[in-house]
């Protein structure tokens, strides 16, 4: 019981220190894509506003697949930072992306679930959607190195 209370306090402290804007401020590539983070309670949603330079296929037109992958990677890293609240950026070991639907020229949202957070390795799943969360445009599974 005491342990649980202590864990809750720790996670509250972590959240108190977590400033979603500050996480991405120092990452030039996140600003290049224009990624924003929105925190509601302990639920973190990454938001990629549509800008024309993110288009990969001008004929359909569709968002660049690499952009969607990179966006989900940033979502996963931000979620890990929310959980662990370390000072550095977690390094990806491997990343697996499934593309399910064409990315339309619209705003994209991403949410990550940390499956396991360990001392050296964590496992994260991300899904990205546009119109409805029930029909994701892509999903990602990744392992990150924590040290």
């Amino acid at each position: 019981m005491i342990e649980k209370v202590m864990a809750d306090t720790r996670s509250q402290q972590a959240q108190a220190k977590f400033d979603p804007d500050a996480v991405l401020k120092d990452i030039p590539f996140a600003s290049f894509l224009g990624v924003r983070l929105e925190l509601a309670g302990d639920e973190l949603t990454a938001h990629l506003p549509f800008v024309p330079h993110l288009i990969g296929n001008p004929m359909i037109p569709a968002l660049h697949g690499g952009v969607i992958g990179a966006f989900m990677e940033i979502t996963a890293m931000a979620q890990l930072k929310l959980h662990g609240n370390f000072d550095h950026i977690p390094k990806p070991i491997d990343v697996n992306v499934q593309y399910l639907r064409s990315g339309k020229p619209l705003d994209t949202y991403g949410r990550a679930i940390v499956k396991r957070i360990g001392r050296t390795i964590s496992s994260v799943e991300v899904s990205a959607w546009q119109e409805t969360r029930q029909s994701p445009i892509a999903t990602l599974q990744a392992h990150f190195l924590m040290d």
């Binding site: 120092d26 990452i27 030039p28 590539f29 996140a30 600003s31 290049f32 894509l33 990969g56 296929n57 004929m59 359909i60 569709a62 968002l63 660049h64 697949g65 690499g66 952009v67 969607i68 992958g69 990179a70 966006f71 990677e73 940033i74 550095h88 950026i89 390094k91 990806p92 070991i93 491997d94 990343v95 697996n96 992306v97 499934q98 593309y99 399910l100 639907r101 064409s102 990315g103 339309k104 445009i137 892509a138």
Partner: protein
């Protein structure tokens, strides 16, 4: 590409042969010097001098310097053996460098001045030695020169066919401040590597189908081996090793200097759709 090379060779070969046979050594040296100056121009690109903009004048300066060195080398008859000795010394040193390549280049890239001196040592004695070889009464001198050129030509042709491997498509992205992922180390963001790998894999499929059909990523798996080196150009080589009627399977590596030392590896499956894509189901 090969056809263009063959045609160029067929036109240039008689011209070079005629020049070797009929031109007097000083004139031949002038012709070779022209080739040397073209080489020097290419060398300025390898030195990293800017091709356009305010710094572009330095390329012309280097060209002038090379011309001066070529003229000087011809004028100083007494120094020819010394020049040849310096050239031999350099090549022996270069031989010593080869086993360490490209690791030694990764640790420390020579400065522009050092590369400039290197270019002169490479070009001037080579051009001069060609003219000196010819400086014997015909047909002796011409034959000597032809023999040495034939050696180079044959080796070059062999190298072309040995080098025309089936590695796939290669793309490169220079390091940029706004693509950095970790401001402390200035390492480029892993997302950039992901995007470049995805793009290049798609290109490899396109290269394989050899037709204008939309290609969409189905899935992509990426393994990151190490951070990319800050300040270095990142290259990606992707090969579509199998293409079925609708799916292309691709393997790719991201690296700075050689595939043997990769930053990341990727394995992907791509769907090749018919000419008109169904925008609702696939991502492009």
């Amino acid at each position: 590409m090969l056809l263009q090379r063959v045609i160029t060779a067929l036109i240039l070969l008689p011209l070079v042969l005629a020049a070797i046979w009929f031109l007097a050594p000083p004139w031949l040296y002038l012709v070779f010097s022209g080739a040397g100056l073209i080489g020097a121009w290419e060398w300025t690109g390898m030195m990293g001098l800017p091709q356009q903009g305010p710094g572009a004048g330095r390329r012309w300066l280097y060209l002038g310097l090379t011309a001066l060195a070529l003229a000087g080398a011809w004028a100083l008859h007494g120094c020819w053996p010394w020049l040849a000795a310096a050239s031999v010394a350099w090549w022996l040193f270069a031989l010593f460098l080869i086993p360490g390549f490209p690791g030694n280049l990764q640790r420390k890239r020579p400065g522009v001045a050092a590369l400039g001196v290197l270019g002169l040592v490479l070009l001037v004695p080579t051009i001069l030695s060609l003219a000196v070889l010819r400086d014997h009464p015909a047909p002796d001198g011409a034959l000597r020169l032809l023999y040495s050129m034939a050696l180079v030509w044959v080796a070059d042709i062999g190298a072309y066919f040995a080098g025309a491997s089936d590695d796939g498509v290669t793309m490169a992205l220079p390091w940029r401040e706004d693509l950095v992922g970790d401001p402390e180390t200035h390492v480029i963001a892993s997302g950039v590597v992901t995007a470049l790998l995805d793009n290049c894999c798609g290109m490899a499929v396109w290269d394989k189908i050899n037709a204008f059909k939309p290609v969409a990523t189905l899935d992509l798996r990426i393994d990151y081996m190490r951070p990319a080196l800050p300040g270095h150009e990142l290259k990606v080589t992707a090969k579509c090793y199998k293409l079925t009627r609708s799916i292309g399977f691709v393997r790719a590596f991201a690296y700075e200097t050689t595939v043997e030392d990769p930053v990341a590896a990727a394995q992907g499956a791509f769907i090749v759709t018919a000419a008109k894509p169904d925008a609702g189901d696939v991502k492009a």
